[in-house]
Symmetry: C2
């Protein structure tokens, strides 16, 4: 059996609690001989800053480079609000994305039937919702230079951020999105602001070309990001796969997640390019939710998004789609049995802690 | 009685139809001796491009500079999808905003009780919703330089957009927002992405300073734009006034508008600085909805957003708050009587055309 090397980075807030449930699952898979994972653990975010004044250490970066997949919890919290900008918790995550070349961020927004009523949207608008947001993750305004604050004198400062996209960056993320659409309902919606941004003009042009050259069988549609956001809120089920840039993807995927009423349930995968020789790709898996410092350490956190993120690792990095399907089924079964962490409680359901939820899912498996 | 000079720019799509209802109202106000408006009309957007290959002419720009207020319909449509970038319909609107110095965009998102069921959100989430989004309108990534597409050879191009904010730009929009909050529920939420963008860092710092120096009586809160977007969808009533930059404001105000279920009803005002000598400010008023080319020319368009935008002109440019209140009341009364254009039809209501809706509101006045 192949050995897979995992780096676990629990991070801050509820990160360690939800990661503990993944660890429990991994130990069980190893013990049962179903898979063979070697795990290492590291610090990231505020936890890393507290230990060595940087949001990720060189040592941890080296381990991330060497791992077959990184499993990431969450970072940040008010405790680190005034640390130097370069050392803020988020910087550790951004460096992982950039240095590992994780350009493709896959964010499914799925509405679990058992939870449709938790959405602020009407049941009929979200029931059965299943969309996939493909967000470009290593370009755009997140990493473009110059990115500066300059003192102009006279009490005036000037802040600059730069959005940069090259053709190849748009091509490769478009291909990831078209490939996913082919395996789903064969429809791709590309979103940008070409009426205002030059990067939107190029984005639109390149996606259109990739479609014409390689994916004529997929239905392609373009929407402006602002009206796309409106359509997401108005009738999300019109979408199958959405492809968009780093900043629009940040906003739109969070909004899509919130529509489902299942924020604590949603996983994400960040993937690099496939290496021509080894056929492997770098990858990182993290829940869509944040570090939720207000509920950290109380056993209230929902571990499902974290476990489902590990499920995406099984599917996208280790070719264990069948096992991932079983994990998804176990999660659905436990929900159908009425077990709920505090974030998704409703009348007539059974309240459970983080650990109890993790154990119940494992038992179901 | 003071004479007020208005420039009417109907634009494209449904723009001319909804502007005709404003014209009807203006003529009536003049005839009744309630006010004295002098109106001129001009071309903008695709209509201007068709006439003279530019999305706004120098002559029309000069009229806009000379007017006391510009009343703007909507621009754009598939017909102009392939005109040169510099002449695209939106360029006319962007030039008006920039050259008139209209830095403050006020976008109320109000849920009309009669229309709460038209929202995709549950009634309890949006009923009674009344928030004001204050969007910075002449800075940020919309106008920053460089804004280019460069050919790199080898089939590669590079697109660049630049987000730029100076201290004074953030200060003046913050003041507009704090002043509005004082007249409302005294709460301001500022949104940016300080964890990723330097402009977000400066934005946060300047808003915090303006608050500490001048508006300590207003409750100030900061949210990251992505979680702010989530909160808008989850529980919009937590907000009173939201202040944010040009691009986030574009996305967030559209999403807020869609939440209300009343997109065809929502007006906006774009205001310049108050001139120290004349005490006047430049201003432009436009509906939040777009040009809706698919329904143009069919008498289906809802004129309420356009009429309510004119109402904002009465309030913010001509100090006719009482008349604006009467107009708002007339709109509410007509809705309560069950009259509906196609976009807001529901069972048991009476379908009316654009013109019939305009006439009914006028009659109510
Ligand atoms: C933590 C932050 C830097 C990050 C982002 O903005 O990308 C987060 O919001 C996300 O969506 O993963
Ligand atoms: C038409 C377009 C340029 C404009 C914008 O992006 O600002 C519109 O979406 C708006 O919100 O007024």
């Amino acid at each position: 059996m192949a050995t897979h090397k995992l780096l676990l980075l629990p991070g801050d807030g509820i990160g360690p609690e939800v990661m503990a449930e993944v660890k429990r699952l991994i130990d069980w898979l190893n013990a049962q001989g179903i898979a063979h994972f070697e795990t290492e653990q590291g610090l990231v975010g505020g936890a890393a800053y507290d230990a060595h004044k940087a949001s990720i250490s060189e040592d941890t970066m080296a381990k991330a480079q060497a791992a077959d997949a990184v499993i990431f919890g969450a970072v940040g919290g008010p405790k680190w609000d005034s640390v130097p900008y370069e050392a803020r918790p988020e910087a550790g995550l951004l460096r992982l994305r950039k240095d590992l070349g994780l350009f493709a961020n896959l964010r499914p927004a799925v509405c679990y039937p058992a939870l449709a009523d938790a959405s602020s949207l009407k049941r009929e608008a979200v029931e059965g919702l299943d969309i996939m947001i493909v967000r470009e993750l290593t370009g755009g305004v997140y990493f473009g230079e110059p990115k500066t604050i300059t003192d102009l004198g006279n009490g005036q400062k000037r802040a600059i951020d730069t959005q940069v996209y090259d053709t190849y960056e748009i091509e490769r993320i478009a291909r990831v999105a078209f490939d996913l659409a082919r395996k789903r309902r064969n429809k791709l919606t590309s979103m940008e602001k070409r009426n205002v941004m030059k990067s939107g003009v190029l984005w639109n042009e390149v996606v259109t070309q990739v479609h014409a050259r390689e994916y004529k069988d997929v239905q392609l549609e373009h929407q402006l990001a602002d009206s796309g956001g409106m359509n997401l809120v108005k009738s999300p089920k019109q979408f199958d796969v959405i492809v968009t840039d780093n900043l629009f993807g940040d906003m739109l995927s969070d909004i899509a997640a919130m529509l489902t009423g299942s924020l604590g349930m949603l996983p994400s995968a960040s993937l690099g390019e496939i290496d021509a020789r080894s056929k492997k790709r770098k990858s990182l898996f993290e829940p869509v939710h944040g570090s939720a410092p207000d509920i950290a350490g109380k056993g209230l956190a929902n571990p499902i998004a974290m476990l489902a993120s590990f499920g995406m690792a099984l599917r996208y990095s280790f070719d264990m789609g069948a096992l991932a399907d079983k994990l998804d089924a176990a999660i659905a079964a436990v929900l159908a049995n009425g077990l709920r962490t505090a974030d998704i409680r409703s009348e007539g359901t059974t309240a459970v802690s983080t650990t109890e939820m993790g154990q119940a899912i494992l038992k179901e498996l």
